[in-house]
């Protein structure tokens, strides 16, 4: 029997609240070490946690977006272990009763959709960071991150390949950004993934022994780490060995996972309800209020783009992967005479390429949605050709002003005067006796040569359609 891999993911998502989950300190990333750690965050004697309600609101928002059950009564628990970047010696988390349970996320894999169960999503606080460099054999502790709110999203073991896992992860990534509950920046660690992987013979019901691979910080690494782990486990069993339940660490440089701690070394976290925090009680009214703030979700928006704008599935998917991109597209469409399909091509093509080249987020784009609409209008009303429009876009990108100003300044206005074009066509034909012979003897492709010559003579400004028509007419005379 062939092998089947079984994968479940645990994803830690930092919530973008202004302050920490149990203190008033800021959560902004990148401050000097320990400048955003309050008395509560560094766990001075006597301090107490107070829940930031925004964190609960964001967790509820997430729960609704994945059609989960919102527990109106959930309980904070302490997870006890010693580590220098865990100031209290315990992490406040949720254990027996999480705020969100039994959700669902649908992924598209090879043109088919597949439902991935979400076991639970619970609120917890992040730990600080241990810095092992630059301290001459000592360890530095930065507690800025300590107390940053997280939701830990635990999937059911429903994925069967690394590519399914990546599809799920990307879907989740898009979703939390749509909900505006996280910037989900993987490099900065605000979206982190642990992968539970096991293998079994196809057709078996029992799960194999799983390993947990920790803290994989890019989509590519998730794919590689899971693939490595599947291979490793299959080889191990085929060689007569057994998979050991353990926690492993992915090393992206060597592209391998290696053991971190075994089951025997596993912590006994001694979870118990945190006596400093009463149960988190949410009212039905609160849930309804949150429901009203839910934005249109990625799947719904993608379907609407196909329906409303007549886009193909691929374009619609690309536009809806990120909320600001979809917003940009819709703003442009609304402001422009051009067809939605043309707008989509520009957003996914020229704009995406420029953003990518300059590593910019779309909200930082120097060409705003309204300006792009203005440019596309000039194509629409035949002031410029699509080709010239690219030159104008380039100029807009470097800040030369509005499309109209650039067209004016550079004299890019399209030549649509038939008699002017005829004159140039005549000149070109007069100088191309050889090519006319070739064309007339049946070499159709020489036609392109004439077009090129006309365009060259007009610096690309002649209306291509008119050039074609006039050339055909003259050559067939």
């Amino acid at each position: 029997m062939p092998w089947e891999s079984v994968i479940g993911l645990e994803v830690h998502v930092q919530l973008q609240t202004a302050s920490k989950i149990f203190s008033g300190a800021s959560t902004a990333y990148g401050a000097d070490p320990n400048t955003q750690a309050s008395a509560v965050d560094i766990a001075l004697p006597g301090v107490l946690p107070v829940l930031n309600e925004d964190a609960a609101l964001m967790a509820v928002k997430f729960g609704m977006a994945v059609n989960a059950k919102i527990n109106l009564h959930s309980v904070f628990a302490r997870k006890n272990y010693f580590y220098p970047d865990l100031p209290k010696g315990y992490q406040i988390s949720q254990y027996e009763i999480p705020i969100v349970a039994d959700g669902l996320l649908t992924i598209d894999i090879d043109g088919e959709s597949k439902r991935i169960g979400i076991t639970r999503a619970h609120l917890e606080e992040d730990a600080g960071k241990s810095l092992h460099e630059d301290f001459h054999g000592m360890t530095g502790i930065d507690l800025n991150r300590a107390g940053t709110p997280l939701i830990e999203i635990v999937s059911d073991p429903d994925m069967r390949s690394a590519s399914e896992a990546v599809a799920y992860l990307k879907k989740l990534h898009t979703l939390v950004r749509y909900l505006e509950i996280s910037d989900a920046n993987m490099q900065e660690g605000s979206f982190r993934c642990d992968a539970n992987v096991s293998v079994r013979r196809q057709g078996m019901n029992m799960l194999g022994t799983r390993t947990e691979t920790k803290n994989i910080n890019s989509f590519r690494f998730v794919e590689s780490a899971i693939e490595f782990e599947i291979e490793r486990q299959i080889e191990l069993i085929e060689d007569g060995g057994e998979v050991v339940q353990e926690t492993r660490l992915y090393d992206p440089e060597k592209n391998e996972t290696r053991p971190m701690r075994s089951k025997e070394e596993a912590h006994d976290y001694r979870y118990f309800p945190d006596p400093d925090l009463p149960p988190l009680v949410i009212t039905e009214e609160f849930v309804e209020e949150v429901r009203e703030t839910l934005p249109e979700l990625p799947d719904a928006r993608r379907a609407r783009f196909v329906e409303e704008y007549g886009l193909n599935a691929e374009d619609a998917a690309q536009l809806t992967v990120d909320k600001p991109i979809a917003d940009y597209f819709e703003t442009s469409v609304a402001a422009s005479q051009a067809e939605a399909k043309i707008v989509a091509n520009w957003v996914n093509g020229e704009l995406a390429a420029h953003l990518n080249k300059d590593s910019l987020e779309i909200i930082k784009s120097p060409v705003r949605a309204e300006a792009l609409a203005g440019l596309l209008d000039r194509i629409h009303d035949k002031t410029i050709s699509g080709k010239i429009a690219k030159e104008v876009f380039e100029a807009m990108w470097s800040g030369e002003g509005t499309p109209d100003k650039i067209i004016e300044d550079r004299g890019l206005k399209q030549i649509t005067d038939t008699s002017a074009i005829k004159k140039i066509v005549d000149e070109v034909l007069a100088a191309s006796a050889t090519q006319i012979e070739q064309y007339k003897s049946g070499q159709e492709k020489v036609f392109g040569y004439f077009v090129g010559q006309v365009m060259k003579a007009t610096q690309g400004k002649a209306n291509p359609q008119q050039v074609n028509e006039i050339l055909r007419k003259k050559l067939n005379e």
Binding site: L44, G46, P84, P87, Y90, I141, D268, F272, P278
Partner: protein, 484 residues
Amino acid sequence: MHAHSIRQLADLLSHKDISSVELTRLFLKRIEEHTELNSFITVDSEKALAQAENADKLLATGEASVLTGIPIAHKDIFCTKGTLTTCGSRILSNFVSPYNATVVDNLERVGAVMLGKTNMDEFAMGSSNENSYFGTVKNPWSPERVPGGSSGGSAAAVAARLVPAASGTDTGGSIRQPAALCGITGLKPTYGRVSRYGMVAFASSLDQGGPLAQSAEDAALLLAAMASFDPKDSTSAEREVPDYRAGLDTPIRGLRIGVPKAFFGAGLDTKVGAVVEQAISEFEALGASVREVELPASRLAVPCYYVLAPAEASSNLSRFDGVRYGFRASEYTDLIDMYMQTRAQGFGEEVKRRIMIGTYALSAGYYDAYYLKALKLRRLIADDFEQAFEDCDVLMGPTTPTTAFAIGAKAEDPVAMYLNDIYTIPVNLAGLPAMSVPAGFDEHHLPVGLQIIGQYFDEARLLNVAHQYQHATDWHTRIPEGYA
């Protein structure tokens, strides 16, 4: 002068018969003269005199409250900005807090003057004050005896009139038991009445701060300032603080007193029992009626408590790891060894014992049998009280089974020590308010405490009942020989 109550001192201050600075100097001098009690860990004269000067200015403007300019002391479990807060432990022996506990802020706001920080059992774990890194406190009634614990420094200092009143905390009896053993008045409020913010945590679901004072009236004045709804403490009660003084003089005719049979069984010293019964008959003379009540689950309170409190403590004390503040062992080989050496050297025996018990009770495989079972028992104990209060206004009985015992007598027997709190622990488990008031003496002329237990947030009634008793008796005015 030093034997005056807060009420009397406030009158003198408001009539400008004495200044707060003079009063502060007077008590600072007494503290200095009576170091034999070892009741203070830190005395901060400079800060105290600065506060007293401010208080005098406030008194001059006429905007003073009744506590303005009154010297007090804080148990060394409350964080006080700029002064040592040791919690009686080596592990915090060098810890200067950068912030004030809410209770400290509240008392500062009304102009009370803090003389210093009182000695205590390490992390409030103990009933004798023998578990302090800073040495045993002596009972002013008999120097070879314990003052009780864990707020033993506060109780001894108030009993010896080294300070008019002091704060304490009570997790299983730590205000009431030393108050009883030192012959003063102590009040443990309803859980949630006094903010726990800035009070070093022992067992979070049980800890509650409160006053130790000479009388119910003084306790009322102090509690009114200490209590508040505190947004920084999620377990703090969001309800107004009543004027505890307003009802002190209300006659208690018709008061229904319940006497728990369970509090008069084996283990209770006969003389203590007799004194308490005498006190209860005093209430009958004042027009109260007495009935017997059952608290059947209370016999399980001590084992229940000794699962829950250590479980919470084992987690609460994890932050003392030598990484960020406090004591760190000077020699260690690696991170784990640093933790082990720091905590082995930084904590005392009793604290370590409780961390071990608590860690065990929360461990995988034992959690259900110990922690969960204890939680269920706790519910039963609270239900018993609720039933008893159906036809009683207050419950009365002994605070402790015996009077002050000799230093060292129970030091080697933790269980015997734990049984000292047999009558006080059920109250913490239920979260109810309770007081201990002086009710007489045993044959060795050692004070006996009467415990009065009230319904949730019924502190005003407790204080009224105690004040009426103190109006009719003078036990609370007795001062140990050598300190009068």
